[in-house]
Amino acid sequence: MFRAKVLIKRRASILDPQGKAVEIGAQHLGLTNIKNTRIGKYIEFDVDTNDKTEAEKEVNDYCEKLLANPVMEDYEITLEEVKWANLNSE
C-alpha cells in the first residue's frame, strides 16, 4: 500500500482573493511582515496496491482529472510505501 500526499497550489498568475482577505487578518493581528499570502489545498489518501507504477498512474490521473484544475492550479505528489509496522506505529 502507498500513502499519497498532494499539495495543490494556485498558479502565481492567478489572483487569490481569499489569500488577500486572510492577510488583512494578519495586519489586524499586528503581523506587519506577512506578505503574499496564497491559499492552496493539501490532500492525503491511501493507494491500495503494491505496484508502484500503477499507484503513480492512478494518483496522477486523480490529480489531473479531479483534484486539481490544470487551468489554474499546479500540484505536487509525494508517494510513500506504507509497511504494516508503520501503520501500527502511527
Binding site: S13, I14, L15, P17, Q18, A21, L66, L67, N69, V71, M72
Partner: protein, 233 residues
C-alpha cells in the same frame, strides 16, 4: 418538428432546477423533464439545462465533482454531436470543469456573494440563443453567486474574442461595459460565453429567474424563446 423539449439536470445540491422547470413548463409553456444525475438517458430532450445551485456542496471546486456524474457522460456526448446545452451559474461552472467551455470561474474579487439584478449587453447576435433579438437590447437578469469571476489565459481570451464567443457582458443600463459595473471581477466583464461550435452556452446570470411577469422582469424568457425559435426555423 413539434415544440422542443427541455431537460433540466438535477444534481445533489442543485437548487435552481425547479425554477428552470417552472419557468420553461409553467410560464413559457414548453415541454420539460427533470433528468436525474445518476441516470444516463436524456429522455430525447432537445435542450439540456444544467441549473444553478451548489452541486456536491461546491466541495473541492465548484462543479468539479458534478462533472463526473453519470448523466454528464451523456450530456458531453450530446454536446459533441451538436446538441444544445445551457449551463446557468453552477451549470456554467460544471461546463468549464467538463471542458465543454474554456476558462475557470474564480471567487468574486470582492469575496462577497452577490445577489442582484444586473444589465447585460449582447455581444453576439448570431448565436442560437440570441439570433433574432433586436440589436442594442440590454437584458435585465439577476445574478446570485460567490464564484463568478471569469478567468482564462490571454491566449484563450483572444480566441474567445476572435471567434465571437463572448455572448453576454456586464454593462450599465444603457449598455456601457466598464470596470465600475463589473460585479465580480470577470475578465472583459464576461457574463456568458459560447463554445466554438455555437451549441453550448454558459452564463452566470439566471434567465429562469426572469421569466414570470409576476416577478417584475421577463428578459430571461427572451433567451429561451429565441432559442426555441431558432431550433424551429
Amino acid at each position: 418538428m413539434g415544440k422542443p423539449k427541455f431537460g433540466v439536470v438535477v444534481f445533489p445540491g442543485s437548487n435552481c432546477d425547479y425554477d428552470a422547470y417552472y419557468a420553461l413548463q409553467k410560464v413559457l409553456n414548453y415541454k420539460a423533464d427533470f433528468l436525474w444525475h445518476k441516470d444516463t438517458d436524456l429522455h430525447n430532450c432537445d435542450v439540456i439545462i444544467l441549473p444553478g445551485g451548489f452541486s456536491y456542496g461546491d466541495y473541492l471546486r465548484t462543479g468539479a465533482i458534478a462533472r463526473f456524474s453519470p448523466i454528464m457522460n451523456s450530456v458531453i456526448d450530446y454536446a459533441k454531436k451538436g446538441g444544445r446545452i445551457v449551463g446557468i451559474c453552477n451549470g456554467f461552472q460544471i461546463l468549464l470543469e467538463a471542458g465543454l467551455l474554456p476558462g475557470v470561474l474564480l471567487k468574486n474579487i470582492s469575496l462577497k456573494f452577490v445577489c442582484k439584478d444586473v444589465y447585460l449587453s449582447i455581444e453576439n447576435y448570431q448565436t442560437n440563443f440570441t439570433k433574432g433579438i433586436e440589436e442594442n437590447t440590454i437584458l435585465k437578469i439577476p445574478i446570485a453567486h460567490g464564484e463568478g469571476n471569469y478567468f482564462a489565459d490571454d491566449k484563450t481570451i483572444k480566441e474567445l474574442e476572435d471567434n465571437n464567443q463572448i455572448v453576454f457582458k456586464y454593462a450599465t443600463k444603457d449598455g456601457k461595459v466598464n470596470n465600475e459595473i463589473n460585479p465580480n471581477g470577470s475578465l472583459r466583464n464576461i457574463a456568458g460565453i459560447i463554445n466554438k461550435h455555437g451549441n453550448v452556452l454558459g452564463m452566470m446570470p439566471h434567465p429562469e429567474r426572469s421569466c414570470n411577469p409576476v416577478l417584475g422582469r421577463t428578459d430571461g424568457s427572451l433567451i429561451f424563446n429565441t432559442l426555441v425559435n431558432n431550433i424551429l426555423n
